[in-house]
Amino acid sequence: MSSVADKIRFEPSALPAGLDELRREVREFLEETLADYSPAVRSHSWEAYDAEFSARLGAQGWLGMTLPKEYGGHGRSAFERYVVVEECLVAGAPTAFHWVADRQSGPLLVRYGNEEQKRRIIPQITAGKACFAIGMSEPNSGSDLASLRTRAERTSNGWLVNGTKIWTSNAHRADYMIALFRTDPDPNKKHAALSQFLIDMKDARGITPRPIKNLAGGRNFNEVSFVDVELPEDALIGTEGQGWRQVTEELAFERSGPERYLSCFFLLRKLVDAVRDKASPATMARLGAQVAWATTLRNMSLSITAKLNAGEDPALAASVVKDLGCQFEQALPGLAQELCDLEPTLDGFGLEYQQVLGNLVQVAPSFSLRGGTPEIMRGIIAKGLGVR
């Protein structure tokens, strides 16, 4: 008897043999490179922006690993990249500068970019010298992304863009933005009227990012206005009107990676150190349950990596991992406070554990907002189960 659960089976995928050496090298590199970074900075991990660190990682050959050699990538497997990414996250390496480029913009350009774009940009991504922003959300289009209104109109020699993007991480310092615009004003073509564009942020005129301070005082994301921005003909990525499909493919990368359960791993490490000498069996049971969850999520995430590596579409499975991973990592700051009753503190005050908690307890609400909310994920899963 067939079952709806057959659609979401995660075949185990142990990492292939022979990656231990790579893992050891990455660990050593990170230990050395991050020795002087404070625990609070390290707890920001993939939100911490550090161009110098990204260039060093690039020099090691650990960015753009899966991109083809002919364009300056390293032609390595998705599993090799996975090892580097998970080690960076666990170590609390500041990866925000290269994060988007390495995770999704590089693969997107290889798939849909034109020859010139690939030859010019992939080597910059691989070197850790290109920071990408993603222009998706708009002031009136959050979860309902397909309702976005920023227009790209055809001109005699290119495109003219007008509108506003919001929550655009690093737009104020990115080298490039990949944005989703409406290229057809026909209101009946909601999804089919969207197209993706590559914008060179250093060249374009009329783009004004306005940083938005988040609740913790961080300044990563922006509101970005586009006023009569002229883009060249070949700024279009892929096919006009296929932007929604292309973005959906891209989101499978975004929703299934190890960052979906490791955002608070640095806190788990510090929590274990804070309680280990006096942990009761009940406390150990709670800690162990987190280890079990993390191990489960790692297996699920690896299983999706195998699917991506084999060229399969894991969109449904990726939504499951995003939803579960978010539940796990968002609950960790609360659990930490339950098991170790110390006040969360600002950088520079209190114990290391308290500072890390102080940062993560403040940023945790964003875990269920970025990359699609649980409400959206569950809608996608329900559709996959055939009930929507």
Binding site: V291, A292, A382
Partner: protein, 350 residues
């Protein structure tokens, strides 16, 4: 899933899918052990996935056993198939063959006090299907290594007791005559650990049934002029449920594979880690699996007539059997505390 495993899963599905509808389950709960169905299991050799080829088995690994165990959980099989599979595995590792009939698998380690010459002294050990057992099978900590002990069931006092899934968990008392002792190449606590793995796989299967029934019911039942599945709150319950099902399935499959590769002894980082993670996650998951599937069903799911309970009552029992989330979480938490903050990740990545 590879071809062999798909074939195994299909054959178990075929056998139980037809014969264990709710009417059949009800009759079994009224009249006891379904001997004819057990005979079919034995005829088809479903319990022999882990048995050696010499013993008429498939000589498979736990990765092959997983789809069979999961399917047994999915169909709430009221037979000791999972216990018999584990018994056959123990016999293979001890290089012996088992007597015919239903095995009485003793879940706890036997120590020197329990074994006296050819007598095995039992003081009320609760044993799955003890009342049906043709023989007893247990693992003793022999000091120099583990031993597989086989004893007969004559002269035993059997106090019948069911778990809340209505599967027999009978208390055995008295002196049983030991008929064979074989050196066993597994740790003495192997039944506790492999039992936990077996129950995790059954929970994974039970979760599938919770999801299937909830999805089906939400599509059929209408309120406010629409099927339940049209309501976003219900869609989100089902999606949440599906994620939990997938998580138990994933970690338990991974634990089976890990055991096939690394075993349970020797190297510091063997498969005990994954097995503990699987049973911890599976036991913890039972809360959501049962709560959400019952909630979607409303009052009908609370009736005896509607058979969701054949699954959910077993899930509540399996959650605790061979240790719950507390015991297995504590095992992992102790490892984490010993390893320290910097050591957790190397532990996870093995």
């Amino acid at each position: 899933m590879n071809e062999t495993r798909q074939m195994l899963e299909d054959s178990v599905e075929r056998l139980f899918g037809d014969r264990l509808d709710w009417d059949a389950q009800t009759k079994i709960e009224e009249s006891g052990f379904p001997r004819a169905l057990w005979d079919e299991v034995v005829d088809q050799g479903i319990h022999k996935v882990l048995a050696s080829e010499d013993a008429g088995g498939l000589g498979g690994g736990w990765g092959d056993a997983y789809p069979v165990l999961r399917a047994c959980g999915k169909h709430a099989v009221p037979l000791p198939v999972a216990e018999a599979m584990l018994a056959e595995y123990l016999a293979r590792e001890a290089g012996c063959t088992l007597p015919d009939g239903v095995p009485g698998l003793l879940p706890a380690v036997l120590d020197a006090d329990d074994l006296d010459g050819d007598r095995l002294r039992l003081a009320g050990m609760r044993t799955p299907w003890g009342r049906e057992a043709a023989y007893l099978l247990g693992v003793a900590d022999g000091g120099d290594g583990a031993e597989l002990v086989i004893a007969d069931t004559a002269d035993l006092d059997v106090a019948a007791e069911d778990n809340i899934g209505r599967d027999p968990r009978d208390a055995l008392r008295g002196d049983a005559r030991v008929v064979a002792r074989h050196a066993l190449s597994l740790p003495a606590d192997c039944v506790r650990w492999l039992g936990a793995l077996v129950r995790s796989a059954q929970i994974a299967g039970g979760g599938v049934t919770c999801l299937d029934l909830a999805v089906q019911y939400a599509g059929e039942r209408e309120q406010f002029g629409r099927p339940l599945a049209a309501f976003q709150a219900i869609q989100h319950y089902l999606a949440d449920l599906a994620g939990v099902v997938a998580s138990v399935d994933s970690i338990t499959m991974a634990a089976c594979e890990a055991y096939d590769v690394r075993g349970m002894s020797g190297a510091a980082r063997n498969a005990r880690f994954e097995i503990a993670a699987a049973k911890c996650r599976a036991s913890e998951a039972v809360e959501k699996l049962t709560r959400l599937s019952h909630q979607v069903h409303g009052a009908i799911g609370f009736t005896y007539e509607y058979g969701l309970h054949f699954t959910t009552r077993r899930l509540w029992a399996w959650r605790a059997e061979f240790g719950g989330a507390g015991e297995w979480g504590e095992y992992l938490g102790r490892l984490a505390c010993e390893a320290g903050g910097d050591g957790i990740w190397p532990l996870m990545t093995g």
